[in-house]
């Protein structure tokens, strides 16, 4: 049987965790809920090949928003991505995630995210691990 005190402590813990999450993810123009949901999606869909801070099958995602395409030093990009040029903006990331092979035929990423909501949440998370634009 839970006592009111225990409930109070538990609710307090939840509130503190929520406040912490809000503080951690607070960025102008990015909702904390979107970032948290995006992080969950990232862990599910992206971590097979990517990490935030390490180059693996794919390049690191730290500071990807605002970064020149194919510009992580030392990463072995496909010719297709090197040729693409430009900067990764949220709009371009949305285009990329919608159809990697359409945007850069011959690139090494084949995963596509059909659901626009999922793309929005993933990009919110990627913005949260990038320098504010």
């Amino acid at each position: 049987m839970r006592t009111p005190l225990r409930w109070t402590l538990q609710l307090g813990g939840v509130a503190a965790a929520g406040l912490l999450a809000t503080t951690m993810f607070a960025r102008p123009g990015i909702a904390a809920d979107d970032v948290a949901a995006g992080q969950m999606l990232y862990q599910s869909k992206c971590t097979g090949c990517h990490s935030v801070d390490a180059d693996r099958i794919g390049p690191r995602h730290r500071n990807v928003v605002g970064r020149k395409v194919a510009s992580v030093p030392g990463f072995n990009y496909s010719p297709a991505l090197k040729k693409l040029g430009g900067v990764w903006t949220p709009a371009r990331l949305d285009q990329w995630l919608s159809g990697t092979q359409k945007m850069a035929p011959g690139s090494r990423m084949y995963l596509e995210i059909d659901d626009p909501t999922q793309r929005r949440l993933l990009i919110a998370y990627l913005k949260s691990v990038s320098k504010p634009q």
Partner: protein, 192 residues
Amino acid sequence: MDFDDRSLAGSRRTFLHQAGALTLGAGAAGLIGAGPAIAAPPRFRSDVGVIQTALALEHEGIAAYRLAGKSGLLSKGTLQVATIFMGHHEAHRDSLAKVVMQAGAKPVEPKSDAQYVAELNLASLKSEKDVVALATMLEHGAASAYLGQITAIRDPKLANLFASISADEATHWTTLNAAGGGQIPKSAYIFG
């Protein structure tokens, strides 16, 4: 960990011996034979890119289990499970590499151990729990990556191979997640 030592045979010495043999033979001997028989008509050539990406994923998985196995952090039972899972990844590698070669391309090579240590931050692993947590994360990502790439595959037989491999990775994840005390996800569509 909750892996049952009694259910598995083998020893740490065996694992290390196997790991050493794998290190020496990964470039050549490991690519012969093994895996579901898949004919390689010319149309496979259009799928070579996606297979190579999957092959790179398998190389990483093999390295993670091999290097973790050598770390001395794993108990006997966990090491034996890791050895089995590494064997599955080797079989996946062999099947994928075979298709790449049959399509007339050169299979992507594994990176160096030093690269895998850095990329997976293996130096940060301090306990068996850390190793299992990393493996759990990698297996979940792998299961999802295979599923997520199926729609890019043109050949149905290859799509079937990807689905089969994804199921193996999902089995690994389930085993590791349970051993590490992880929760069963409440929402459906755990992978993909």
